[in-house]
């Protein structure tokens, strides 16, 4: 696995994503790991069904990385996202950011996950004992 920006049906290895951005000059390496929660919006969740516009997702990840490099002093960023059916506790997304110092790494990682949730063409349907519904996270 060598792609920094990836949409995959296979489980994500957090350490492997971090290794993609690590370098001798980067003294800070921040990873964000998103996992499937057991409860959402007041309902129990058994599994999440992710759907993506796969031909566009990796381009959007490149766009987010470009925005990150414009705004923060970071050395490298990697973004991997799952698609398909995930269960509670499964990892849905990993973002790894390497920077010389920790403030930029933390800030950039936060920015990247917020932007990912805002613009990436990925959807999820929650399945639980109360039924199934598509998630709409608009504020």
């Amino acid at each position: 696995m060598t792609e920094r920006f990836l949409l995959s049906e296979k489980p994500i290895d957090e350490a492997a994503v971090a290794a993609l951005v690590a370098s001798p000059g980067a003294g800070a390496l921040v990873t964000f790991v998103g996992r499937v929660r057991a409860r959402s919006r007041g309902h129990d969740v058994d599994l999440l069904e992710y759907e993506a516009y796969p031909e566009m997702v990796e381009g959007v990840f490149h766009q987010i990385a470009g925005e990150v490099h414009e705004r923060f002093e970071v050395a490298a960023i990697a973004i991997h996202h799952r698609t398909g059916t995930l269960r509670v506790g499964d990892t849905s997304v990993v973002i790894a950011v390497a920077a010389e110092h920790r403030p930029a790494a933390f800030d950039a990682c936060r920015y990247a996950i917020d932007r990912l949730k805002q613009i990436t063409p990925i959807w999820k349907k929650e399945h639980g004992p109360d039924g199934a519904s598509w998630v709409d996270e608009r504020p």
């Binding site: 998103g34 516009y53 566009m56 381009g59 990436t120 063409p121 990925i122 959807w123 709409d136």
Partner: protein
Amino acid sequence: MHVTVRLFASHREAAGVREIVVDLPAGARAVDALAACRRTHPALPSTNSGVAFAINRAFAGPDTVLADGDELAVLPPVAGG
């Protein structure tokens, strides 16, 4: 002109198909293509609220004019992460 409209998530389920090819007059915009889809697939959500568009895999505004052969993606509110 012909435009291929890609549907996802709630739109895909409502329409029962992943894509619809629509025949549009010259000058038609992204929103016009979605309106054309609603005429043939009336179960599609009737609101444009929260819907974004991408043309040939790049984000585009709702009033962007389409060209023959374009792929228009209708993106309901996203929920990645």
